[in-house]
Symmetry: C3
Subunit: 327 residues, 3 copies
Amino acid sequence: MATMTWTRRHILSLEDFTTTEYEAVLQTAASFREVISRRTKKVPALQGQVVANMFFEPSTRTRSSFELAAKRLSADILNFSPGTSSLTKGETILDTAKTYLAMGANIMTIRHRQAGVPQAIADEMDRLKSGVSILNAGDGVHQHPSQALLDLFTLTNLLDKDNPRLELLSGKKMAIVGDILHSRVARSNIYSLTAAGAQVHLAAPPTLLPRLFLDLVSRDNLYLHWELQPALENADFVMTLRLQKERMSNNFIPSLREYHLHYGITRDRLKVCHPNVKVLHPGPVNRGVEITSDLMDDPNLSLIGDQVTSGVAVRMALLYLIGSSKD
Amino acid sequence: MATMTWTRRHILSLEDFTTTEYEAVLQTAASFREVISRRTKKVPALQGQVVANMFFEPSTRTRSSFELAAKRLSADILNFSPGTSSLTKGETILDTAKTYLAMGANIMTIRHRQAGVPQAIADEMDRLKSGVSILNAGDGVHQHPSQALLDLFTLTNLLDKDNPRLELLSGKKMAIVGDILHSRVARSNIYSLTAAGAQVHLAAPPTLLPRLFLDLVSRDNLYLHWELQPALENADFVMTLRLQKERMSNNFIPSLREYHLHYGITRDRLKVCHPNVKVLHPGPVNRGVEITSDLMDDPNLSLIGDQVTSGVAVRMALLYLIGSSKD
Amino acid sequence: MATMTWTRRHILSLEDFTTTEYEAVLQTAASFREVISRRTKKVPALQGQVVANMFFEPSTRTRSSFELAAKRLSADILNFSPGTSSLTKGETILDTAKTYLAMGANIMTIRHRQAGVPQAIADEMDRLKSGVSILNAGDGVHQHPSQALLDLFTLTNLLDKDNPRLELLSGKKMAIVGDILHSRVARSNIYSLTAAGAQVHLAAPPTLLPRLFLDLVSRDNLYLHWELQPALENADFVMTLRLQKERMSNNFIPSLREYHLHYGITRDRLKVCHPNVKVLHPGPVNRGVEITSDLMDDPNLSLIGDQVTSGVAVRMALLYLIGSSKD
């Protein structure tokens, strides 16, 4: 296991993540990826600690990933489900979090449809000197740090399995295609990928990628395109984003078919990319909209399954790093 | 523990189950029934393995049974709940299964209201050479193998606690009464009971037991009755099936009262059976419809509680057999 | 751990709790409070035993507290969720309980919106000579014993951390304010607090505290007020109760604002209490209705967080005491 000192208590955003922190996550995840390939997949790292998964916005996929990561670290897990909760009885979100704190939660993973909720809970936990760590599992259109970190691990692990590290992505071209404006995944990835020295090319229709986006997320090596072709040219990696179907009724796009025609990733379109190009998607995928079915299923081109597998290792790493910093 | 070699990766249907496989399940379940009567009920057999319970059709009863079985084998468990899942976001069922595969699931128990879904997932898992095992926990009107196997264990265990085996049922008369047409429980039981050499007598109104059913499920020792009496005469066992209330609005039966009048099992009706007759029901029971309340609660006549208890031991056996075949 | 003999199988109501039993709970909870402050928070006391949390009425807060308590005693846990259950298929509650019994449940925690359901299940379990213990986790307006016991522990633990015991509350004045009529928390607390020799003063509008309440719950040292002031004067503790918002539409109270004006607990109103007064609330709180926000958050005045923390220790104690009596 990595022996560097980890000092960050909460993981809320990648905006101010340091190079040292990125490298710590990558190295720790690499150790855990090795652990979970063994027959006995458990380590006692978080024994006795309580991880509360508080998903105010439902998500089986990400919650299961956090749950499995916590189990493999031998933590006790409490799953909060908003449907059956005190929230329906008028309790505030901060009071819910404080209840789990009082029960003994040491780490809370928070997903909420409103940006800033994990930060607000973290502030309250610090004000109370609780020592509790908050892990943002996706907040509104703001940030989804564990997703971007698992993407980073997937990419660097592909390039050097024995020693995944930031510099492997230096100078690589990454196209991010789709609903950039509403994507917390895109925002978090822009921070991590540019931190690694990659060239990040965003491609989307103007409604989903207004020019002012560059002012909001200002980073070097970040480029904006309203056409797909220039983003894909010589790209080493193409990350497609999930298109929420409700964008259509909101007039952001004319139709799913039209969107696919202009921005959907197909085998044919990848021809302008680097010959070894790989495709990523945070899931769940709308097959035939963001990406064609055959491309998604092609193990030589798609890293989608690998992203999910990396997710467990990276979330183990995050829980481990913030959990161990409590000693 | 039984030392025979188990080679079947998936348990999807009993249609092609072999005698050796039935015996392996019965013997393994007998060992586990002994284990769970001890104070410490856990064995480390599946330590480190992940069992994903994917119940697309809700069922607390069967899911709890699988969950407890998996816990007692020391597996890690992921519960997938369709209500809060990516399915509502348009992901396909196969993609959901592949996500759990990528997270590290080793065994998936699948329940779905559509026949064939567990088979489709198993095919995909094999195509991907994943090594994952699929256990059909009930698919549409097709099959419910673990239910029929727990019924088989309940019956043979009753006849010889020390050595439950198929031949104990040879020549026994089993009446299966009720909504045969729509019952996956009946279909699976017909395969296992006739394989054991029992005489299986089906009884139901013609709407719920069309003559062509015999063509669909063609087995020796299988008899069809539109009256209850001939099925019950000298029967050693009577299995009643759950009557879905919606059958009434669909005009399969005129009313619950009328159904009970003609096909409901009562103490009086059992008089034509073998003096030691026992009654089974897969649950949940509509008291006073399929069976009278007092009969259901009579420990000398009802095996219903015993079926539930056997369920945990049999599901431990199934998970153990397919889990160990992975080594 | 306390070595006294515990003989009570079910915990359904505090009405007939004995002094010895209260003291056993307090002492055992004190040991567990110490256990859960250690780094490794688990004890193997209930290893192999199955705790089924059957919350027919949803509650994340109380269910999580029982779940965490059971995990720390190393029990296996089954969570029953009514939404996805056989209840929707017409099964009776007793049949659901018997199904969990047959699966091997040793302890069932039951919450139901109807008073008497835990008792009915306990009676059935005894009739079957099952040995199963029932723990009432709140039934209608009847009883919520674990809540009152955690309140009792919170209070006695505050007064003597090393030796929490009943006599510490002798002669203390407790005001209970709010919707007494509909509160199972109030009913249970009246029994435990008067048993400890406290003076219990109830305060509420007449619609929520009819005079006949004193006939229903007849206890010494119990006083009834329709004004807040006499209840608060010199009070050592003030327990506010949750006001269900639907009381308003039922004409029990004119409006939330009016209720707060007359019965809401504020810093100003506490001036007539004992200088060291502390405030309790079972949660979830409607901030600004039963109690002002700043008061709730003041660690010198509010015991609300402490109640939640005590909840885990007290529920461990209850599960431990009834679980160990099985040997």
